[in-house]
Subunit: 197 residues, 2 copies
């Protein structure tokens, strides 16, 4: 851990969030103390309250922003894409890409939704269900059109989404493959899950 933080740092809300992202992703929400976030920033715990309203607000903003962005990604990805195979490929590619480029956010959303207070938790879970349902319907549509062949579309949709989540667990910026390359690879693997010919 970096204990060489400057003795009198000037901190911003973004800086607090940045440290929270790292520590929540590494140790979990309940496993991270505000004193640890403060220490990482080189300030005392009460000073955090000049930048945030509460610990819960940090989690709230991370989860709500991420789940909202995931859904916006999806809608953008399938818009203006007439071919159903291209639509599933595009939807999967942007989801996979996000898990390479926003690893910490993705891990926190996947692990800590239960730690989020209502009503935000319900909203986040609804957005995720919405996303999974949309993926399922893409698979159904493709299967009806003879382009896919997976009648267990709900199982396949969950499997595809979770496969993309795995990226957040191992991806490294300095690895052999770029985020875009990994996303393209996973999109093709996921098409095979749906039974693309």
């Amino acid at each position: 851990m970096n204990d060489a933080a400057p003795p009198r740092a000037t901190v911003s809300p973004q800086a607090v969030r940045e440290v929270a992202l790292t520590l929540f992703a590494e140790r979990g929400y309940h496993g991270t103390a505000l004193s640890e976030i403060a220490a990482e920033l080189g300030i005392r715990t009460p000073s955090l309250y000049n930048h945030i309203r509460s610990k819960q607000e940090l989690l709230h903003d991370i989860v709500i922003e991420t789940t909202t962005d995931v859904w916006a990604d999806y809608e953008r990805a399938v818009k203006d894409e007439p071919d159903v195979v291209a639509r599933l490929r595009s939807a999967t590619r942007v989801y996979a890409l996000r898990h390479a480029t926003h690893r910490r956010e993705a891990l926190i959303v996947n692990r800590e939704i239960a730690s989020l207070d209502d009503p935000a938790r319900s909203r986040a879970m609804q957005l995720r269900r919405c996303h999974a349902e949309a993926m399922k319907e893409l698979i159904d549509e493709g299967t009806k059109a003879g382009r896919f062949s997976e009648p267990a579309s709900t199982l396949a949709a969950f499997g595809i989404l979770e496969m993309c989540v795995s990226i957040a667990r191992w991806f490294r910026d300095d690895g052999p493959l770029s985020a875009e390359e990994v996303a393209a690879k996973y999109a093709e693997m996921c098409l095979r899950v749906a039974g693309a010919k």
Copy 2:
């Protein structure tokens, strides 16, 4: 939550572990207080120490037993199976099956390894790496033999394993598919990820 626990229960180590499994899986290790486990059992917190040595020991036993069993499952699944496609199918099927039949254990292992103290954490992570590496080598072997076609075997192996983990997130005993049916389904989907012809 069941607050109708008997006023003077007789508790066993197994009963404590059973409640811990449920609460750790629902709220996480750091999100669960021993007082909550005790309340669920209808006893006071200090009485737990007649059955366990510490909270950490509970997590330790769950994670070590599960990761050990996963590896034993794998070895049993590939033993005496000459065909490489059948080996990957069998290895995937038992892993998927475990995630339907041991949902709480699987979720805890996936979420709380970082909450486990060394040296158990290192041992558990090594067992998981071992498993992922073995899956990767199955894919490589099959690709060399012309039975699979996924040169990005490390990516595929992680993806396949994580896909199976997704089962633990949604499977219900009273759902339309049995654990065995779901495991068979996922095994076939995972073979397609590996590029099985």
